[in-house]
Symmetry: C2
Subunit: 154 residues, 2 copies
DNA sequence: ACGATAATGATAATTATTCTCAATAAAGAG
DNA sequence: CTCTTTATTGAGAATAATTATCATTATCGT
């Protein structure tokens, strides 16, 4: 069968993994929804519409696999369910961080200031990596607070 | 009764909250273990040793309360349980960020580079705050990767 | 097409966290 | 100190996200 995402497929094959229908469907859902922060359940529901035989457990397994491969990133915004989005490495999504409202859970992606941030981050990563002998794969940066909507309701 | 943490007590009273045994015990446990990243269960077990009548639900409630007050911070390192530590605002713990090993779950606190980081962070926070009309309370910065121990085991 | 086996789907099991509600204890008034 | 009000608590049940199990299936090199 023919699938998209040749870069991911190549990596999977190189590591002896099988390229399955479910894996491609899950990856495709994430690639087609770069702006959202999908939970496992949301991915499952969308996958289920494409192919009703896809199971919930496999969605979890696939999300975990893609996370370990560094293709997607698992994020926890404090509402008790993990969320997933493509990483910068996928080339489908720009490098960005998050603003999280602790009142309503709203999440804002921001790409501003990332040049300066990026520079410092690269430096910090390099030095931490050296000092602690730690192989850094990625990072999570979130600013937590109250969004404008929640602010006005006071 | 006489308790420590006068700063926290003052804030609680000012907001009409009651200063209870359980709250003080939980706060004390966190203040006495600044280096660890205690889970709710760990706090409960320690609280239970001090006063066996303290219940699990109240530990959760107190951790949530202290988090909302900005005295402690809730952290998720990806192992499925939240962890808590004092914030900088408590003056008992220095401003720091985290290195998280995605293999074994080890967490390293690092205080290096925080001067530069801090400066940029302050600037970013100010600008984001303005642009998105977002009242920023704190931030979470984590570098994820593989620790030296896990690296050597390959 | 075939065989070895990695991957899957259904479902049960686990586990962190939240909810419920009667009982308790903190704080202010007298 | 005693009394009253009511925020807070403890026990246990309930919820909900994630993980484990296991028989079945689909992938892929041959
Ligand atoms: Mn995002
Ligand atoms: Mn820490
Ligand atoms: Zn909000
Ligand atoms: Zn490790």
């Amino acid at each position: 069968m023919r699938y998209g995402h040749p870069w991911v497929c190549r990596r999977m094959m190189a590591e002896g993994m099988r390229i399955t229908q479910t894996r491609m469907v899950v990856l495709d859902i994430l690639a087609r929804n770069p702006k959202r922060h999908l939970s496992a359940e949301e991915v499952f529901l969308m996958a289920h519409e494409i192919n009703p035989s896809i199971g919930f457990a496999t969605v979890y397994r696939t999300l975990d696999l893609l996370t370990r491969m560094g293709i997607i990133q698992k994020l926890e915004f404090g509402d008790g369910r993990a969320r997933y989005e493509l990483t910068e490495a996928s080339k489908k999504v720009p490098h960005h961080h998050h603003l999280v409202c602790t009142e309503c859970g709203k999440v804002i992606d921001y790409t501003d200031f990332t040049d300066e941030e990026k520079e410092l981050l690269t430096k910090v990563e390099r030095e931490l990596s050296e000092k602690y002998n730690f192989k850094i794969k990625n990072h999570i940066i979130q600013f937590c607070g109250i969004c404008n909507h929640c602010n006005e309701r006071r």
